[in-house]
């Protein structure tokens, strides 16, 4: 089966997602993603766009209420950051020692292309470790630790390396966005977690404008920073807006793989947005979950309940910020999360967009 990069004319529905995934935005360095989101929203929504100090981007769309009632407040949130790396030492030979920002399995690192945002532009590198020929018998049996890896940017020595990068410079995986499988149904790229969520919100705002829709509540869209290290920009958003309801758009690691017993498989790629009942950070509002599943069933939109209590996301901060918020999480089932090659299904991207639009228009907030 032929693998192909997404070309401009191909699959226009995921061009936005590709553009977002290819944007540089490791945790703590999300400005380029914020720029890209603002660029994508410009002229395509009537929402009021603001950028705030912490790096969040907000798009606020005031609703239409009857008889001067106070409008309910509904927030959509997705995080702009992706897992990445930070340089913490440059050795005398010009190799970069680094640490991971966000949870990355060290086993997915060796041999990967990475990009660092250097002083005067992007710097390409590869993650390397001691070659297998030189490893001791013990080293071969265990996964190489991040502290024993380095990034090679082709520098001659420390001085040469320092012309391009410095301690504290951020990097991400350098990975093409590719579609593959029958009818190009799968998408592979870095940062699908959580640019897919960002794309869903952007598409929702665009569709509201295209259909000339005024919602009967105020819609606060928050593109938030620093989810991957648990220091949530989403908490700042929730404290700012004090929403009555929030929907967190995420990507969730799943385990629909051969070695995993049926009772431990979280969800299935292609079966629609994954709706959580509980995870390690949140017990979700059951009425909101049930109401959403009901809307999905009525509209024949694929959706699935997360079958395992694991992970955590911005909902953990949002639901207990300020006076508390009834919170729902809808995640794209994603294989190989937090790697250079996250894999998600185009059909799930479609299902989630449909579901969010249906919930905004159909749920009684």
């Amino acid at each position: 089966m032929e693998n192909k990069k997404v070309t401009e004319e191909k699959l226009s529905g995921i061009k936005l997602l590709r553009d977002l995934c290819l944007t540089f935005g490791p945790t703590g360095c999300e400005e380029a993603v914020a720029d890209e989101i603002c660029r994508q929203l410009e002229g395509t929504t009537d929402a009021e766009i603001t950028r705030v100090r912490c790096g969040n981007v907000y798009a606020v769309l005031h609703g239409e209420t009857k008889n001067g009632e106070t409008a309910k407040k509904v927030m959509l949130s997705a995080h702009t950051d992706e897992v990445g790396f930070i340089i913490n030492e440059i050795d005398s030979d010009g190799y970069l020692k680094f640490s991971c920002e966000g949870g990355i399995d060290p086993r997915v690192l060796c041999g990967r292309h990475v990009t660092f945002r250097g002083k005067d532009g992007d710097v390409a590198g590869v993650i390397a470790s001691k070659a297998i020929h030189h490893q001791t018998a013990d080293e071969r049996k265990t996964a190489t630790k991040v502290k024993d890896m380095y990034v090679d940017i082709g520098a001659k020595n420390k001085e040469d390396a320092e012309k391009y990068v410095a301690v504290g410079v951020w990097g991400t995986f350098d990975s093409d966005f590719v579609v593959f499988g029958e009818n190009d149904r799968y998408m592979k790229g870095k940062a699908i977690d959580d640019r897919l969520g960002c794309a869903v919100i952007i598409e929702t705002l665009r569709r509201l404008k295209a259909e000339g829709k005024r919602l009967p509540f105020d819609l606060y869209c928050a593109f938030t920073v620093r989810e991957e290290i648990g220091r949530s920009g989403a908490q700042i958003a929730a404290q700012t807006f004090e929403p009555d309801y929030a929907i967190v758009l995420e990507s969730t690691a799943i385990a629909d793989l051969p070695d995993v017993p049926a009772n431990s498989r979280v969800a299935k790629v292609g079966d629609g947005g994954v709706i959580s009942l509980a995870d390690r950070s949140t017990v979700y509002d059951r009425e909101f979950v049930d109401g959403t599943m009901k809307i999905a069933a009525q509209k024949n939109i694929p959706a699935q309940i997360k079958r395992y209590v694991s992970g955590g996301n911005d909902a953990g901060h949002i639901h207990k910020a300020a006076r508390g918020t009834k919170t729902l999480a809808v995640s794209a089932p994603t294989r190989y999360l937090h790697s250079a090659s996250c894999v998600a299904a185009a059909a799930d991207f479609d299902s989630i967009r449909e579901l969010i639009y249906a919930v905004l228009n159909g749920y009684s907030f």
Binding site: N263, V283, Y284, D285, R286, I305, R307, V309, A322, G324
Partner: protein, 333 residues
Amino acid sequence: MYSLIKKMVCCAGTSGSEKKIAEVIRGEIAPYVDEITYDALGSLVALKKGTAAEGEKKKILLCAHMDEIGFMVTFIEDNGMLRLAPLGGINFTAAAFSEVVFENGTRGVIVPEAGTKPEDLKADKFYVDIGASTAGEASRRVSVGDRFALVQYTTRLSKNRIVGRPIDDRAGCAVLIEIAKRIFGGCRDDVYFAFTVQEEVGCRGARPVGFAVAPDVAIAFDVTGVGDVPGAKPMAVSLGDGAAIKVRDASVICDAGLVDQLHKIAADKKITHQTEVLISGGTDTSSLQMAGAGCAAGAISIPSRYIHSGVEMIDLRDAEACAALGTAYILGE
């Protein structure tokens, strides 16, 4: 007090699903307060208005959590067995081979896979047998996402000691209701009785309550561990020795002024009391202390043996002392 505790204990309400117990509490406290509201997460807040003039009165928040530890169904196997995830700090050694009850009344038993070694007793090794022989049969009675807990009950073992579950923290809820009754005749300050959700999963519900009420002083009423059983780690709290005034736990250092004040009131009023220094475990106290702009927070604890097991035990005299101390603090005579 026992009949009130019994009423509180014999009602289901795992973290995130507290509606039923909230309604029971509401029924009990309604005659003694001026306003009752629910917040977005489901915490119940009852206000007893103070008699002092606006601007001259403080806001005092008393808090106990309504939720209990329990489980959620995550998967139904072909043979009708249910897989589960814990809600809160489950002691799986204590939970093994117990009878469980679902919110819809379905009964079952929670069992570890045959041959599981004691050190491997974790959630993934457990299943619930509800007496169904196929997935279809099980699905007619329970669904993924349904909640269950070890059976709620209480038994009076002796004149003063009771055992059961979830004493944690329904005994605290009973103490709050008892205080509401005792201050019904009038109090100077505004008193908010908060029955919070989701304490067992990380003191989550108390935070929005603290933010919304923005109290001057907050006191949590919860159970605490003891050092008076065979093999217990050293701890200067014993069953029957009175209300435990918390100095710290793993999540909070209580307001020193409030701790001193509670000690003084207890001594003056001859209320049996002891000092609690809890090494591990946390309570809503921490969330209340840091919510919004923060407040002076402390806790009055009911000493309890075997917390988070099916046989939580307290001494009724300690619960009574907690109610007396809370009342004396508010009435400030």
